[in-house]
């Protein structure tokens, strides 16, 4: 907490801006930021507990604390939403803009995080949990083998999850670029660590953590450079000031566009949009599956939340200059995701490329700077998050003696062994492919519809072709599960414990519900625009 607030104060000092007089300046409204405060507070408390509690109490305490924090933040959110101003309000001296899209993203993040925490907390699938006891133990040593057989679970991952979640929530509502950068780091650093925590296949996991960290640092540098150039252009890091500067000056546009390009690249990296996706397959594959689920669902939501806000608030007036370029990026991302996904032989890598393709679809919605584009993208994020979360939950259940069996050949004939699991996974894959009766169909539908209404028909044609190509590799897995003979020494399907069952059920139910009756969620997603102050 103190870190955040001091940095926020710093941001204020660095950007000493008189608040425009027509904005109502309110006393710091804590009601609006309670959800973030609760999550980050619980994270700090979790660190303390980790140090103070005896080992055998830690797991239960941390699980209860994390779940309470997420649920509590959700309750605080609901309580706030009921009487929140429709146009949004500023909090924390104007560094956070709590508006309708921001609140929708918060709700999405909290609901997804609930599922992710449940997956992380599960100890029945892998006795002792999916995480190493001590990251410093080298793979293959005696200690390593000892801890594979031990049943205790290391619990640092819970506070790390909460810190990352707090960072994501701040990221979605950051009203100036410096706050956004700090939030970006707060969400990223715990994720880098969490990627390296896998108990099985340690080298792969640690390699992915290092890769993610190096490339993440690289992307952060882009982001920061972009912020610097934009400050040079507008004299402020606040989004609305950049917008008004771009609308009404004769300053050189080089700074504006170079800065915007660098900034957006930093954001696209986090959202794993091609060609800035290169880390995605390796990290999705290497990270412990519950963490992958958390990353794939929540990071995507947060990153696109940031992209939406930056594009709609700061760069709306210059959209005709940058739009064509982001068209190109969306096309590249969809093509890369759909085509490279075809040749993948690992389930987790395949979902990773699928997420690249989905990032392209989401980007289409994000560059349609209309009400429909905003609500469509928000809705798409909600649907995609739950489907992916449940899909990774299912993946974590298919195991052989050496851990998860993620190679596609091992999934052959799985339907004969476990019809229920194969059925659930088939449903989720159909949702990812966007077949009607699933949320994926409605999500694609609203996003493409918004894009066409905003004059991007050619892009939608490409998107339809890409989704047809992508449907092929989802279908391949279904065919493999149902129409192939099972391998003789194939993997077994673990009977999941209550936590994992709850998480998968949550994901599947939401996917089904939003496919059948999406109207209420679409209403929420379309209930208001970004606050521009």
């Amino acid at each position: 907490m103190s870190v955040i607030s001091s940095v926020l104060l710093l941001a204020q000092e660095q950007a000493p801006l008189p608040v425009p007089s027509d904005t109502k300046v309110q006393a710091p409204s804590l009601g609006a930021v309670w959800p973030v405060l609760i999550v980050l507070g619980a994270a700090c408390l979790g660190v303390l507990l980790e140090a103070l509690l005896p080992r055998h109490l830690r797991w239960s305490t941390q699980v209860v604390l994390s779940l309470l924090a997420v649920v509590g933040a959700g309750i605080a959110l609901v309580a706030y939403v009921s009487d929140a101003p429709a146009a949004g309000e500023l909090a924390m001296k104007g560094t956070l803009a709590i508006d309708r899209p921001g609140l929708f993203l918060w709700g999405t993040l909290l609901a997804l995080a609930l599922g992710a925490v449940l997956l992380i907390a599960d100890r029945s699938v892998e006795p002792g949990g999916a995480f190493v006891a001590s990251a410093a133990i080298r793979p293959g040593t005696l200690q390593d083998r000892a801890q594979v057989t031990s049943t205790g679970m290391q619990t640092e991952v819970f506070p790390l999850t909460l810190f990352a979640l707090g960072g994501m929530m701040t990221f979605c509502v950051a009203n100036d670029l410096l706050t956004m950068f700090v939030a970006l780091e707060v969400l990223s650093l715990p994720l880098y660590l969490m990627c390296g925590l896998a108990r099985r296949r340690r080298l792969l996991s640690q390699e992915s953590a290092v890769k993610y960290f190096l490339l993440g640092a690289f992307a952060s540098a882009f982001f920061l450079y972009g912020v610097a150039l934009l400050y040079g252009y507008a004299g402020s890091v606040r989004l609305s000031d950049i917008s008004s500067a771009a609308a009404g000056t004769d300053r050189s546009d080089t700074l504006l566009f170079a800065g915007m390009g660098l900034l957006v690249i930093g954001l696209l990296f986090k959202a794993s949009v091609g060609p800035f996706h290169t880390w995605t397959p390796d990290v999705y594959q290497g990270a412990p599956t519950p963490v992958t689920a958390f990353m794939a669902a929540c990071t995507k939501v947060a990153a696109f939340g940031g992209i939406l806000r930056v594009l709609q608030v700061a760069f709306e007036s210059t959209q005709w200059e940058w739009r064509g370029v982001l068209w190109g990026v969306a096309i590249v991302s969809m093509v890369i995701g759909a085509v490279l996904g075809l040749t993948q032989t690992d389930v987790k890598r395949m979902i990773a490329y699928s997420s690249v393709a989905h990032a392209g679809f989401l980007l289409i919605g994000s560059i349609a700077l209309t009400e429909k584009g905003l609500s469509g993208t928000l809705f798409y994020l909600l649907t995609y998050g739950f489907t992916t979360l449940a899909a990774f939950g299912v993946i974590s259940l298919v195991r052989d003696s050496s851990g998860e069996a993620t190679h596609l050949s091992q999934w052959a004939g799985l339907a004969k062994r476990s019809p229920l699991l194969a059925g659930v996974f088939t449903f989720l894959l159909l949702a990812l492919a966007g077949i009607p009766l699933t949320s994926g169909f409605v999500g694609k539908f609203v996003v493409f519809e918004a894009a066409i209404a905003d004059g991007m028909a050619p892009l939608v044609v490409v998107a339809l072709i890409a989704s047809a190509v992508a449907a092929f590799f989802y279908l391949r897995v279904i065919v493999l599960m149902y129409f192939s003979e099972p391998a003789a020494d194939g993997p077994t399907v673990t009977v999941p414990g209550a936590f994992t069952t709850a998480a998968i059920t949550l994901g599947v139910l939401v996917t089904l519900l939003l496919g059948l009756a999406p109207a209420f969620a679409l209403d929420w997603a379309g209930s208001g625009a970004f606050a521009i102050h």
Partner: protein
């Protein structure tokens, strides 16, 4: 516009029309979720729900028929599906003569085929699942025809595609079944993209996909938009109905069980394309849509000829019937392409065809059931005595199909040929001539089938089937013969009854049937058609009936026969245009993915200046490659941004 009978809110009997969808859907759900527990009575539940839907359909039909003609279009609001801002998709049903006609066809033929399947699938240990899929299909197909907007139609469209995919791949142990299922799925997706784009175009230009709104507003759109929507809808129809150039999946789809071929791939699902165009008749009837309609006619004519020619060359019982289906749907598409002169005729042929083709398929299934699943007609022959009921019912279907006077096909096909001659100018001669030629070819290949299967010498006597058993042909049981008999009665009498009533009944949906007066009047066309059909049948008899036929197919044949055996190179065309470039692209990308990433990155780096040499010599680590590719992307993005601004 004479077809805009205003829709009123459904009430009374029609208010429960959602039952039509729910009944089979509940059957499917119970059977799928109930698992092995429902094995004992699953087939009864499956058939029962469809029969119940049929009974309700009949009641609804008479209820609607008792209303005055202008009150027969009803709209049943079920719930608001998607409703945000301007985007408003209502989930509702449209009960009008056109959809009711289809409801009766689907549930009627569907009930018969359910009953038939009880016998046909009795040896299959997964019979319950089979009935679940059939129920799923019936429910989706009913949604397709009952929906009151293009989005609801699309919903059902995808549903029948899924059911068709599952059922084609039913014999999952066999490789060709899985391949056929995949092929059907993929080729259908091509059509689906067309339909989806058409729907998006409607949203963009009209802001709704409800039939009422679209058809009321479409006249105000520009010619370009109307033609584009018309052609995209046609692409969707081509995929689902096996029309040129997307016809190749339908014969392969015969890998599924025969009742499936009869229900889905002959009588109902494959005619969804005809339904789509007839339903969109207000669009195609517009003067702006003249060009789109012309394309529809060309596709129909091309397909009907292709289907006939290939049908002449195949030796597989069901595949010949499949190509016959392709060509008969070609007739229907040609008919609906004729505009107001043809909508009702297309639907009429669709109905009569639904009867006799389902009957022909069930007959084929009955033959194969009694002959150890042997489908090669060169190994059959002389079965008329062994299977009298099958023979008689099949022959009636055969006569109906080739248009024997006063049987079903005579009324529906001849009417289409006459209407084709009635098209404007030279078009009339060209399309009429093609349709006439098709009638002759149809008689030829169907007679060939009849002779090789039922007449002549029993060539199977000294042969054994693939699994080493001798053939003991026998007549099938009553659950199989009764549906065949009912369908045969339909094939004989259906045309005469329907041709008088249908055009007037369909008027509120597709408009009044416009009589055309071509250069040849109806009687002349009828005589010509019958004459040409007789010639075709006589030639077939001369070639196949008088000589002994070899058991294996002759390999040294002339070019036309070779071409026809190779599907007129349709598969080669698809392969050369889509699949081979696709394979190359994938291989290329695998190469790029495995080895080329560094090369590509280094290539970009070389373009950046003199640093490339040094970079190449550096050790290649993956993170570096990734970072470089990001850098490359970033430079492109920023350069593009600045260029757009300052160019």
């Amino acid at each position: 516009m004479n077809l805009a009978a205003e829709a009123h809110q459904a009430s009374g009997v029609a208010g429960a029309a959602w039952l039509l969808l729910v009944l089979p859907a509940v059957g499917a759900a119970v059977l799928l979720l109930g698992g092995r527990r429902t094995d004992k009575w699953g087939h009864l539940l499956g058939s029962g729900t469809v029969i119940a839907a049929f009974v309700y359909g009949v009641i609804l039909f008479f209820d609607t028929k008792s209303l005055p003609a202008e009150g027969r279009v009803a709209n049943l609001h079920v719930f608001d599906w998607i409703s945000v801002n301007s985007l408003d998709v209502e989930f509702g049903l449209r009960i009008d003569p056109l959809s009711l006609t289809f409801v009766l066809l689907i549930t009627g033929v569907g009930s018969l085929i359910h009953i038939y399947s009880i016998g046909y699938m009795s040896d299959d240990r997964d019979r319950r699942r089979f009935f679940a899929y059939l129920n799923l299909f019936v429910s989706a197909m009913l949604l397709l025809v009952l929906g009151n907007s293009f989005v609801t139609l699309y919903f059902g469209w995808e549903g029948v595609g899924l059911a068709s995919y599952l059922l084609i791949g039913w014999y999952q142990g066999k490789n060709f079944a899985a391949t056929a299922a995949k092929k059907a799925f993929l080729m259908n997706r091509v059509g689906d993209v067309g339909l989806a784009l058409a729907i998006f175009l409607m949203f963009k230009n009209i802001g709704s996909t409800q039939y009422d709104v679209v058809f009321a507003e479409i006249g105000k759109q520009s010619t370009g938009v109307v033609v584009a929507i018309g052609i995209l809808l046609l692409l969707g129809a081509c995929g689902k109905s096996g029309q040129f150039p997307l016809q190749a999946w339908l014969p392969d789809a015969m890998a599924g069980p025969t009742p499936v071929s009869a229900l889905i791939h002959a009588a109902t699902m494959v005619t969804a394309g005809v339904y789509l165009i007839a339903r969109s008749s207000p669009l195609y009837s517009l003067p702006q849509a003249e060009d789109a309609r012309f394309v529809v006619m060309i596709i129909g004519a091309v397909t009907l000829v292709i289907g006939c020619i290939i049908g002449c060359a195949y030796d597989d019982f069901k595949k010949v019937l499949a190509y016959s289906t392709v060509s008969q749907i070609g007739y229907m598409i040609l008919a609906v392409g004729l505009g107001p002169a043809g909508y009702a005729l297309g639907i009429l042929h669709l109905l009569t065809h639904g009867f006799f083709k389902a009957g022909l398929f069930l007959g084929a299934g009955s033959v194969m059931h009694g002959m150890n699943d042997e489908g090669d007609i060169r190994r059959l022959g002389g079965l008329a005595r062994k299977m009298p009921i099958t023979f008689v019912t099949w022959t009636l279907g055969y006569l109906a199909l080739i248009g024997f006077p006063f049987l079903s096909g005579y009324f529906s096909k001849d009417a289409i040929i006459a209407a084709a001659f009635g098209a404007h100018g030279t078009r009339g001669w060209v399309f009429g001539g093609i349709a006439l030629l098709g009638a002759g070819l149809t008689a030829f290949y169907m007679t060939r089938l009849l002779i090789l299967v039922f007449l002549g010498k029993p060539r199977w006597e000294n042969l054994k089937s693939e699994d080493g058993r001798a053939y003991h042909p026998h007549e099938s049981g009553p659950t199989m013969t009764i549906p065949m008999i009912i369908l045969a009665v339909g094939s004989v009498a259906g045309g005469a009854i329907l041709s008088g009533l249908l055009p007037a009944w369909l008027e509120p949906s597709v408009g009044e049937l416009v009589e055309t007066h071509g250069p040849l009047n109806h009687t002349v066309v009828s005589i010509l058609t019958v004459g040409i059909s007789l010639i075709g049948a006589a030639i077939a008899f001369a070639i196949f009936g008088r000589r002994e036929q070899p058991v294996t197919r002759p390999q040294r044949v002339s070019f036309p026969v070779r071409a026809a055996r190779a599907d007129l190179y349709g598969n080669h065309l698809n392969e050369a245009l889509f699949s081979r470039p696709g394979v190359w692209l994938t291989r290329f990308l695998v190469f790029v993915d495995n080895r080329g990433v560094d090369g590509l990155v280094n290539g970009i780096a070389a373009g950046l200046g003199g640093s490339s040499g040094r970079l190449r010599r550096l050790q290649t680590g993956f993170v570096r490659s990734y970072a470089l590719s990001m850098l490359g992307g970033s430079i492109l993005v920023i350069a593009a941004l600045l260029m757009v601004r300052f160019a």
